[in-house]
């Protein structure tokens, strides 16, 4: 497994933000982590990224326990999120070089050229990231996320700021990344159409727990809903009616 999460818990002032969450991500698998705002998705991702400590439970990335060997575990992962843009006061090349060194990427120059080609960033290589459009910035974020060829790729709404054509292109690239490497992807999105297209499996979170899990194409029918959108709304509004289904 590229990611194994078991019994993960986190509380703030006695209120559970994440409550006994367990799941796994296998190689070549794209797993969607879904749920309404405040469900605990970002808290879960923050714990996997090591920027938030868990109150209980265990996270292993590629078999390495993050609480015991943080640096080694994080060397096998990477992420891109809408709320974590790369510094806008450095150019695309400078950012990729700095983060390439931070992830100790070997043959860095060659690897940078490879991700620049993959994400069509050649025209922007000497531009400051802050001067790029939000879509272009996300492509730079994704390029940084691929620099170390991570075993686990965490993507928090990676296509939120992209136009439909660019979003489709990115989805194809990430699917190809999971298919061609021994890597897995954990993906959060509020775009249910996208989730159906990209994810092999989805986890619906509500109030800090995983409520439902399964194939995004089969799950709505199993719970008497017409679409994944309808199921999402039901999870957000009436989670208690779905837990036993």
């Amino acid at each position: 497994m590229v990611l194994s999460v078991s019994g993960l818990c986190k509380s703030y002032s006695g209120k559970a933000a994440v409550d006994g969450v367990s799941f796994q991500v296998a190689p070549h698998e794209v797993v969607g982590l879904l749920g309404p705002n405040g469900a605990g998705k970002t808290t879960t991702i923050s714990m996997i990224l090591g920027v938030l400590s868990a109150d209980g439970g265990k996270i292993a990335i590629d078999g390495i326990d993050i609480s015991a060997a943080r640096s080694q575990a994080l060397a096998r992962t990477n992420f891109a999120a809408v709320y974590a843009a790369l510094p806008g006061n450095m150019t695309v090349m400078e950012n990729l070089r700095v983060f390439g060194l931070m992830y100790d990427v070997q043959d860095l120059s060659q690897r940078i050229e490879s991700v620049i080609t993959t994400f069509d960033l050649a025209p922007f290589r000497r531009q400051k990231c802050g001067a790029l459009s939000s879509g272009e910035q996300m492509r730079v974020n994704l390029a940084k996320a691929m620099l170390n060829s991570p075993r686990l790729l965490l993507l928090d709404e990676p296509t939120a700021s992209l136009d439909p054509s660019a979003a489709r292109d990115i989805r194809d690239k990430i699917r190809a990344f999971a298919a061609e490497n021994e890597s897995g992807v954990l993906w959060t999105s509020h775009n249910m159409h996208e989730v159906e297209v990209v994810c092999d499996r989805v986890l619906f979170m509500s109030r800090g727990k995983i409520l439902l899990e399964g194939d995004p194409r089969a799950l709505p029918a199993r719970h008497g809903k017409a679409s994944l959108d309808d199921l999402f709304v039901a999870v957000a509004r009436e989670p208690l009616t779905l837990g036993e289904a």
Binding site: Y12, G40, T43, V51, R70, S71, M90, E94, F99
Partner: protein
């Protein structure tokens, strides 16, 4: 410790300096202003006093050394603030870099900027105002080393404060050297201070350095015990600052403050 990860922190600061003239100017503009101001002040005082006393090594030398310590501290703090202002903590701390490597990168950045500042200050003070570093003899090196260690300790402590209280805490950081300077006896002997201030001064390593400088300016040797105390205290403060930073880091990871620097809690 992975040298490539340390170099990433240093390289980031280099790119920022290279691409932005105001950032580069901050390395030396204020220290140059200080040297010019105090250079003319010492020239005036020497004129008033005749040959009775040479203020250049006692006052201008002290300004230079105090400015060096401030540059070291600000070098560490500014490098950290750049990540704070760019909301870059999530990108940095979600990478494999260890806290030790990150702090080493900050210190390395500070060494580079403070050495540039020191060379410019020395050049100006020597060429324009006649300060001779040879006036302090071999003691110049341990004096600089003690102040360097203090600057690092202060800088790491300041970054811990910012990590704990967020970007707004930078307004606590800027005046730190000014708050310490009356106790450090930069311009006057500790004996002129009231007893309680002397008590504070005796736990500050720079006060031993400046007492030593004044002793040399008066034609005496700096007592070796001054250096021993200064080094001993500087080592203690470096350790305490590192422990404070580590403790603060663990606290912000536990409470979610680090994650919330960039991300909204889900």
């Amino acid at each position: 410790m992975n040298p490539r990860r340390i170099s990433a922190v240093f390289l980031r600061q280099f790119y920022l300096m290279r691409g932005n003239l105001p950032r580069f100017l901050t390395i030396f503009v204020w220290v140059v202003v200080d040297i010019v101001l105090w250079g003319f002040m010492t020239r005036y005082l020497n004129g008033v006093m005749g040959h009775a006393y040479n203020f250049v090594p006692a006052i201008l030398g002290a300004v230079l050394l105090w400015g060096f310590m401030n540059r070291v501290m600000m070098g560490v703090a500014m490098a950290f603030m750049e990540d704070c202002w760019a909301r870059n903590f999530l990108n940095v701390f979600a990478s494999p870099i260890t806290i030790g490597e990150y702090v080493c990168g900050l210190v390395l950045s500070s060494v580079a900027t403070s050495v540039i500042g020191l060379v410019i200050m020395l050049g100006l003070a020597t060429l324009v105002f006649g300060l001779s570093v040879f006036a302090y003899g071999l003691m110049a090196f341990p004096f600089l080393l003690v102040l360097f260690m203090c600057g690092i300790a202060l800088g790491v402590f300041a970054t811990g404060i910012m990590l704990r209280f967020g970007p707004a805490a930078e307004w606590l950081i800027w005046p730190m050297p000014a708050v310490l300077s009356p106790f450090a006896g930069v311009f006057y002997p500790l004996s002129v201070l009231p007893r309680w201030m002397q008590g504070v001064a005796h736990i500050l390593p720079p006060s031993y350095v400046f007492e030593g400088i004044r002793a040399i300016a008066h034609g005496h040797a700096a007592a070796p015990s001054l250096l021993v105390w200064a080094f001993g205290l500087a080592i203690v403060y470096m350790l305490l600052a590192s422990l404070f930073f580590m403790h603060t880091y663990r606290m912000v990871v536990r409470t979610g403050r680090l994650a919330r620097y960039s991300a909204e809690s889900g």
